[in-house]
């Protein structure tokens, strides 16, 4: 099967090299979790995939065509913060991003309502973001990303700001939404248990400047405890290596 996303030799230098050379592929419908020590460039990689940063080197293909010039492909992004417009209701927030798709007013409204319902926000469509909880705002941000029916859904530690209980709930929710919609997801997290709980594939980045250290299939539920231990060891090794390298966080 053709790859959905193909990343080859992607690197990024800010003042120091952050990403050395990262290569991997993502199959259609895969749920890829990006793991790695803090500050190794996970978020930078995601921002490059989302077109928010340009890579210093390397090439990215989405459905076989290069990014970021690809305008007919849609990429949904869920950020660490919800990035909802506080002066618009949840429904208006979702409907806004449908405008560039050329949908009519009624259709935008209907599709926003439908995706808010899928994300468990039925009855809250007309609330302003400031009136609902952080977990609900992040659900609305996920509904917004899914509403454009993205070819690729990027998520950058989307549950990082939530409490432990809400995280659990949202992990189950995103897994359910992924199964319901069949979207291809790249999900950045620093929490190993989160990656193991939701990802179909785990990609571990090395210490900065980052390369791909390992790609692990995560489809055998029985091995989870052992897998978490193994990942933990790997990441701690990379943390140790990174602390030996110069440069500040990014």
């Amino acid at each position: 099967m053709a790859l959905k996303l193909e990343v080859s030799g992607v690197g990024k230098d800010f003042l120091i090299p952050v990403l050395d050379s990262v290569s991997f592929g993502v199959a259609p419908g895969e749920f890829l979790c990006l793991l790695g020590p803090n500050g190794c460039g996970k978020t930078t990689l995601l921002r490059i995939l989302g077109g928010m940063e340009l890579p210093t080197r390397g090439r990215i293909l989405l459905d076989g065509a290069p990014l970021p010039t690809q305008l007919h492909r849609r990429i949904g992004v869920v950020f660490q913060d919800d990035r909802l417009l506080p002066w618009r209701t949840l429904r208006e927030n979702v409907a806004l991003v449908l405008r560039p798709l050329g949908l009519g007013r009624a259709e935008r409204h209907a599709r926003a309502t439908e995706h808010l319902r899928l994300a468990g926000l039925q009855g809250f469509e007309d609330y302003y973001p400031g009136r609902v909880s952080g977990g609900m705002r992040q659900r609305a941000a996920i509904a917004r990303a899914l509403a454009i029916e993205p070819d690729l859904l990027l998520m950058d530690e989307p549950f990082g700001a939530l409490d432990a209980q809400n995280r659990r709930v949202m992990q189950a929710e995103i897994r359910r939404l992924w199964q319901a919609t069949g979207r291809t997801i790249v999900f950045v997290t620093h929490a190993i248990d989160e990656a193991v709980a939701i990802g179909t594939t785990l990609l571990i980045l090395s210490a900065r400047p980052a390369r791909v250290r390992e790609v692990i299939r995560n489809d055998e539920p029985l091995e989870r405890a052992a897998l978490i231990d193994k990942l933990d060891t790997m990441i701690m090794e990379e943390v140790d290596r990174q602390q030996g390298t110069p440069g500040g966080p990014r």
Binding site: V77, R83, P86, W87, I148
Partner: protein
């Protein structure tokens, strides 16, 4: 206390409250209250309205271009440092004895207040929201309407409030010269005929205008615009 001081210093220096109230009743009865207030408000509306339009254009330019932002900053600093009196004199030289002196003066004095509030609002727009707009490919116009304008509105309302108070005070000063109507004109006439109680009466009218617009216009405007908070 006002009444006691008035007794001590006499009606020319400080007229009694009763005399001032009687003055107010006279101008209300004669219709002068409405003609002069109307004339002043008409000039303020033109000068302040033009100033708002120009400030919005400057704000748009500041949003679109970084270079324009620098120029606008300098321009506003210069305008801010220029005295009311300079504008009044220049207006008299350029436009002669006409309505345009108070209108122009109001425009020049309120422009830096309105424009610097709007530019400040535009500079404080949350970059993260604009990035979200880019990611979801909202057009420049869609981002301006959905993200930039709403985040600028609180600054704009604050600027309007301060600016209107300024416009009222400044246009009245400009009306001392060259026009034959308006609150400034009539206050100056009252002074010439030694009717100090009428100066006080008109001062009360100005205070009343300010309080009423504050309550009725600006407060309800802020409330309406902030209903999502």
């Amino acid at each position: 206390m006002w009444a006691a001081l008035s007794m001590r210093y006499g009606a020319y220096v400080l007229p009694s409250p009763a005399a001032v109230l009687a003055g107010l009743r006279e101008i209300a009865a004669s219709g002068e209250l409405w003609t002069h207030t109307g004339a002043s408000l008409y000039r303020i509306a033109l000068g302040f309205g033009a100033s708002l339009a120009a400030a919005l254009l400057l704000g748009l330019a500041a949003f679109l271009s970084r270079a324009a932002r620098g120029v606008i900053h300098d321009l506003l600093a210069i305008l801010n440092a220029t005295s009311v009196f300079v504008w009044i004199v220049l207006a008299l030289i350029w436009f002669g004895l006409s309505d345009w002196a108070p209108i122009f003066t109001t425009f020049m004095i309120t422009l830096p207040v309105l424009a610097s509030n709007i530019v400040e609002g535009i500079e404080s727009v949350d970059r993260r929201l604009l990035e979200m707009g880019d990611v979801y490919r909202l057009s420049g116009w869609q981002q301006f309407a959905a993200i930039v304008v709403p985040s600028t509105v609180p600054h704009l309302v604050a600027g309007l409030k301060v600016g209107f108070g300024l416009a009222l005070k400044v246009s009245v000063v400009a009306e001392i010269f060259g026009v034959t109507s308006g609150i400034g004109y009539i206050i100056n006439v009252s002074r010439e005929v030694l009717a100090t109680r009428m100066v006080f009466a008109w001062a009360l009218v100005m205070i009343a205008i300010m309080l009423v617009t504050d309550r009725l216009v600006f407060d309800s405007l802020s409330r309406r615009l902030a209903r999502w908070r």
